[in-house]
């Protein structure tokens, strides 16, 4: 089944990005086709490559990037939300790309299911 995902919050402050990550991983393991993960609102902060968690904590920026690499996953950061919040090419983590908000509507149309994670 084709699945689209929307992530509304950054790593650390809210659990939304963690839950989305586990959901996407489980969906891929079950053989579903995750068409795109779209990062909006503070969700764009998931793409900040400077993020450096404590050694004994998870690193969601890297986890998302690794998942994208391994499974050819499309991680899209909303350009309008990102500009406001200072997420730009110079600090964009590997595996993410910046694009327009239309890419969210597009995946909502193309996917069989769209699932939102936020605060």
């Amino acid at each position: 089944m084709k699945i689209g995902v929307l992530v509304n919050e950054g790593p650390f402050t809210h659990q939304a990005s963690d839950t989305a990550y586990h959901f996407v991983k489980a969906a891929i393991e079950k053989g579903h086709d995750v068409l795109r993960v779209f990062f909006y609102y503070d969700g764009v902060n998931n793409a900040n490559k400077l993020s450096e968690p404590q050694a004994d904590d998870r690193n969601l920026v890297k986890l998302w990037g690794d998942l994208a690499k391994e499974h050819n996953l499309d991680l899209v950061v909303c350009i309008a939300a990102a500009l406001r919040r200072g997420i730009k090419d110079e600090i964009l983590a590997e595996g993410f790309r910046i694009s327009g908000l239309g890419q969210l509507i597009e995946v909502g149309i193309a996917a069989d299911r769209t699932v939102m994670f936020g605060d």
């Binding site: 909006y40 690499k69 499309d74 239309g102 597009e106 149309i109």
Partner: protein, 143 residues
């Protein structure tokens, strides 16, 4: 193993029912503004859309916002743009595209508001009626 992901999907001819569900008050958080941007972008895709206000979301469309003293962007005129998009959808006979602007009656009344307080024309639905509309959607987005 990885090839480039598809940057675009073929959405030609697919028409889905989108709901944009507004549940937060304006200005205290930015969700109201950023959902508005979502709605306006969606117009280009010619999908069905229900722009819906429940809980504190009903405060978003109260008329008379004045944000000068806060030095924040007053985004309430964008609701007028949505109303115009809806009128376009209603008026275009070539387009099978339905836009609705809905307020939940219970949320409105709990806050001491009536439809006269709003800056745009809305359909006022009861919780039960709105639950039926939500259940009928293909995609529900919010924030």
């Amino acid at each position: 193993m990885s090839e480039e992901p598809d940057l675009h999907f073929d959405t030609e001819g697919i028409k889905k029912k989108f709901m944009f569900l507004n549940r937060k008050a304006p200005y205290g958080t930015v969700y109201a503004l950023e959902i508005l941007e979502m709605v306006l972008i969606s117009a280009a895709f010619e999908q069905h859309a229900c722009i819906t206000f429940v809980d504190d979301g009903v405060y978003q469309i109260v008329k008379g916002h004045d944000t000068k003293a806060l030095n924040m962007k007053n985004f309430s005129p964008m609701y007028g743009v949505i109303e115009m998009e809806k009128e376009d959808a209603d008026g275009d006979e070539d387009e099978d595209m339905v836009w609705r602007i809905i307020v939940e009656k219970e949320s409105m009344e709990a806050r001491g508001l009536t439809a006269d307080n709003f800056s745009i024309d809305v359909e006022v639905l009861s919780s039960a009626e709105l639950a039926d509309v939500i259940e009928d959607m293909d995609v529900v987005l919010g924030g």
